[in-house]
């Protein structure tokens, strides 16, 4: 009888201990949520190395959790899993901040390049519009198509911005700005040539 009384508390203690060794679900979910938010903020694009590592850390965490789950209940220890989840959450939050900052910087640079391109194209179109009418206009007609082409290309920059592809938007905008400046120079040269003659009135041709 006394032996039974001694074993009973030990068994109870074991059961309590076993019942306590549960995975830190809340911390794991919090880490997963933070990683998803980091991805949504553009971490996989703007900090791809670190994002890949944090995904790796999450996979390691899940494996550790599965390993512990596979052990005999008495020997389970989720302390390491909890520690990994807390670290992953902290890292993901840091990545989210960093990615958001980099994305904002890329957006600002792309918008700046877009504005510069728009101004350059506007200047080119103004030069075309200033060209005299009539015979003298012939020298500029073939350049006019270039100016119109540049104007159409600005839509592609806007499309890249709309899809948040800021590096591409910036590259396209810079190309347009460069070409627009070159076309403006070409128009100025043509205007300088025809400017030597007096502008004539439009005639049927």
């Amino acid at each position: 009888m006394s032996k039974r009384l001694t074993i009973l508390p030990v068994m109870c203690a074991l059961l309590i201990l076993t019942a306590c060794a549960k995975p830190p679900t809340e911390q794991i979910e919090a880490a997963e949520k933070a990683i998803k938010e980091a991805q949504a903020s553009g971490a996989s694009t703007y900090v791809p190395d670190e994002y890949a590592k944090i995904e790796g850390a999450l996979a390691a965490l899940k494996k550790e959790e599965a390993d512990q789950e596979g052990k005999f209940a008495l020997f389970r220890d989720f302390g390491k899993v909890e520690q990994l989840a807390v670290t992953a959450k902290g890292d993901a939050e840091r990545l989210k901040t960093e990615a958001t900052k980099k994305k904002e910087e890329a957006k600002a640079t792309a918008l700046q390049a877009q504005q510069a391109a728009q101004e350059a194209v506007k200047a080119t179109l103004e030069l075309v519009a200033k060209a005299p009418t009539g015979k003298d206009r012939a020298a500029l007609e073939s350049i006019k198509a270039d100016a119109e082409g540049l104007k159409s290309s600005l839509n592609q920059v806007q499309m890249a911005i709309d899809t948040e592809d800021y590096p591409t938007a910036q590259t396209k905008a810079k190309a347009i700005q460069e070409k627009s400046q070159a076309v403006s120079e070409e128009i100025k040269a043509a205007l300088a040539k025809i400017g030597k003659g007096k502008p004539s009135a439009a005639k049927k041709k």
Binding site: P48, D49, Y51, A52, K53, E55, G56, A57, A59, A60, L61, K63, E64, K80, L84, G134, K135, D136, R137, A138, A139, E141, S142, A145, D146, E148, G149, L150, S152, S153, P167, T168, T171, K172, K174, A175, I176, E178, K179, V183, K193, I194, K196, G197, S200, K203, K204, K205
Partner: protein, 382 residues
Amino acid sequence: MSGHCPRITRAILGWGALALAGSLSGCVEAVPQDVIEAVENIDRDLMELRAAEFSPNDYTQFTHQWMALRTRVQADEDLIRWPWEPNDLEVALRRLQEEGSHTVARLTKERESLRRSAENKIARVEDRFRMMTLQVGAIDSRFVLGQRPVETDLLMKQAHAFYEQGRYDRSLDASDRAAQNLATQAAVLSSELGRYADRGRISQWQQMAKDTITWSRIHRTSAIIINKADRILTLYRNGQKVLSYPVRLGFNGIREKHYQGDGATPEGRYRISNKRGQGQTQFYRALVLDYPNVDDRRRYQLGRKTGRIPASRAIGGQIEIHGVENELMAQTLGCIMLDNTQMALLYDRVEQGTPVTIVGALHEQNSVALTLATLDDRREET
């Protein structure tokens, strides 16, 4: 006896301490630091190669393994093992180090190959673009291509920028699209100017020229033939060639004229309807042609009916052979322009009613047909 006991105890303690020291010195770290550093270096190499960006699957595979092993390293870092104990973690790390080294070597090779491809593609497409610009300029057909040349130029600028940024895949993509754009330009030129390479059409033009020369011979008078492809004006007298001058055409002169403002120079049989001397024209001297003739009007009406000519466009007129107002002007709005000295000579040798026949080309090996053939040959090269 009493003196022996402490001696034995001391001996036992001494040997025990020696055994313990020996045992401790035989123990080893769970994972040697050099293996961890080697894997960290591989990770750095992969980051320098921007593997996460350019080969995400490889980098994900590596980092997943590395993160799993690093977790184990951190868990085991305070442990020591006996030298004879198997060390799975070290084995796994060494395997990752080996696999990682292979990945770094492979990605380095692949990136270099991609870089070379991008570099070569840029060079090839640029070369073709340069050649096409020259050829198109030589036959005055830039206007035919509309906005396409500027689109190609923008794509090539992007290809360069992406190359400089190390984004070789995007550079290749931009070059590819530029090459496609060039192929489209070649197709547009073939479609718009194909008649310069069409034997049937060339025969018609040859017949028109022959008729004009015959007319000059029969009526013992002057006649003018203008060859648009070669940009040559030839004056005949009594069926004999008297002189040939180079001419400049409209900014879209290589095309057939359809309506006012298209910049094209008309093709057909015309006559000089009016002569304008100095003071009567801004272009030194001018010979006004009777454009539009009956054929032009019929073509225009058909174009309007089929919708090829916008309703807002008139048929145009005032097509002249004239001199130069401004020596620097390279093109006209559709007229035929000569240098003033040559215009003066021509002006004196023709009269009102002189026939002027304007044709596209007079032989199959004309400049436009040759250019189109070259563009077709080079299309496959990019």
